[in-house]
């Protein structure tokens, strides 16, 4: 009789409580230690890039909502921005501010949701409900301006769809105040927790070189000590007008990624506040070329445009051949790239860490599978 422990292949997912959607992770475990891991994706593939080739430029905007459905505003934005770059459109001032406001509010909502679900993965149930409550305040604001709570379809090529309703800016200010207070409470509830720190500090370490080589972006990259944020280093829209910091940490572990995201919420709130102050009271919200939705025909050319989404660098590679439909749209989805590192990161970890590490990368499956 052999006495060694049997190796076991464990299929986490496609249906599993903490894979955040239909994600499958084929892991081999000895006892509870992972000896190999293979992420398998594609269960939610809808062929967005193929669909884009058959639709008019503006018709594809709602499809971008469904990539990272937790942070749809930035997806909307980056697609519109890439078309605008090809066309060389000038965006009205007020529209730029509305874009910034909605994008940053959405980033806060996305980080809040991440915080809740991540803590749920860690086994704490209350943060999930707290996070949802506050996220709801933001969704209310976004609902007021766009008419939808998750799939906004708010941006248009050349501007935005709707102007802010009466008193919206004031309500946003109130929301920011409220969330800042609450976040502080939650932060103290969780961050200092002994059990949480023991589970997250030193776990899932990604070195600076590794993070860059694996193409990580967003908070995951910044937590490994790379001070890079597209909003600051390659300012798009009007981000150069705001005063905010890029939170970074050197540790590169789960806890660092957690801290970076929490700090980013504060920074985003700062931007929202500044935007609320600076926004011009009235003005055009869309370029006149963008108003004729089905008539948009960018000149021939190709462009790669990238922006900082809540999960990392979202990019659009757009090829136009002067037709009504885009010739090729490639979406660089941050989650798709970030989740790749799992196969290296998980080896030698216990199963309990798997959930923590996977959670800390903040992956949305709609985006991974496109």
């Amino acid at each position: 009789m052999t006495t060694h422990t049997e190796e076991m292949t464990l299929n986490m997912g496609p249906q599993h409580p903490s894979t955040h959607g239909v994600f499958r992770l084929k892991v081999t475990v000895r006892g509870e230690t992972i000896t190999s891991a293979e992420p398998i994706i594609g269960y939610l593939h809808r062929g967005s890039e193929k669909l884009a080739e058959g639709l008019a430029y503006s018709q594809f905007i709602p499809y971008t909502d469904r990539l990272d459905y937790m942070n749809a505003m930035t997806n909307n934005y980056i697609y519109c921005a890439s078309v605008e770059e090809l066309m060389g459109l000038e965006i009205p001032e007020r529209a730029e501010y509305l874009r910034i406001l909605t994008m940053e509010l959405n980033r806060v909502a996305s980080h809040l949701l991440w915080w809740g679900t991540f803590m749920l993965d860690m086994g704490a149930i209350s943060p999930f409900l707290y996070a949802f409550r506050d996220r709801d305040h933001i969704l209310d604001r976004l609902n007021e301006i766009s008419g939808a709570r998750m799939t906004f379809n708010y941006m248009r090529i050349g501007g935005v769809k709707w102007d802010a309703p009466e008193g919206w800016i004031d309500r946003v200010k109130e929301t920011v105040e409220l969330i800042r207070e609450n976040i502080h409470d939650y932060d103290t509830l969780v961050t200092g927790n002994e059990i949480f720190q023991a589970r997250s500090k030193g776990v899932g370490y990604i070195s600076k070189e590794n993070a860059v080589n694996w193409g990580l972006s967003g908070p995951a990259l910044r937590a490994s000590g790379v001070k890079f944020d597209i909003r600051k280093d390659e300012p798009y829209s009007i981000y150069d007008r705001f005063d905010f910091d890029i939170p970074t940490r050197e540790e590169g572990d789960v806890f660092a990624r957690y801290k970076v995201r929490i700090a980013e919420i504060y920074e985003s709130l700062k931007i929202v506040e500044q935007a609320c102050e600076q926004i011009p009271d009235e003005g055009e919200i869309i370029h006149k070329k963008g108003k004729r939705l089905m008539m948009i025909k960018p000149p021939e050319g190709e462009v790669y445009k990238r922006a900082e989404a809540s999960k990392g660098e979202i990019g659009v590679y757009l090829v136009s051949n002067k037709k009504k439909e885009p010739y090729r749209v490639k979406l660089r989805r941050p989650s798709f790239v970030n989740v790749e590192i799992l196969e290296e990161l998980l080896i030698g970890q216990p199963i309990a860490n798997l959930v923590a590490i996977f959670g800390s990368l903040d992956v949305v499956l709609g985006e991974v599978d496109a």
Partner: protein, 159 residues
């Protein structure tokens, strides 16, 4: 600044593979934009781009394939953290049996990007350790993002 980089990259490629290696070199929205043929796209060139002192393109931001009907192209979007510079690199490959070297050993992030390009466009990345379909199921026929792909509407329940 960027034009300087463009010339630098151009020279490097010409030094390695001869004058006619560079198919096209231009600025595209203020960023250097270089097109070469796939036989000139080698590991040593890629290594120079990654480790060369003037380049240091340590971050492969995006890798994608485009079907241009008369040929295929793989587009690399490089970014360099140390120098804060940017490069489009387009690698042309014939449409029949398209094949490009895999840069997975140099940029690990290329692993899934290349698998995706293979899956959707059918470009073969030679040297890739695990080149199989990633988004579509393994038994899928054809590569949907090719321009001559015929959508089987009946099978998809559209008709």
């Amino acid at each position: 600044m960027s034009e300087h980089l463009l010339n630098l990259v151009k020279e490097t490629i010409q030094n390695q593979h001869g004058e006619e290696a560079v198919e096209e070199a231009d600025m595209n929205f203020e960023k250097p934009f270089i097109t070469i043929w796939s036989e000139h796209w080698t590991h040593s060139l890629a290594e120079t781009l990654r480790d060369g002192d003037e380049f240091r393109f340590d971050f492969l931001s995006c890798l994608t394939g485009v079907d241009y009907e008369e040929h295929m192209e793989v587009v690399y979007n490089f970014y360099s953290f140390p120098h804060d510079q940017y490069l489009y690199l387009k690698v042309k490959t014939p449409r029949t049996s398209p094949s490009v070297i895999s840069v997975q050993p140099l940029w690990k992030t290329a692993n899934w990007h290349e698998r995706e390009a293979y899956d959707l466009l059918g470009i073969n990345f030679s040297g890739h350790p695990n080149l199989k379909r990633i988004l579509l199921q393994d038994e899928w026929e054809g590569h949907p993002l090719r321009k001559d792909y015929v959508t089987d509407k009946k099978a998809m329940g559209l008709e």
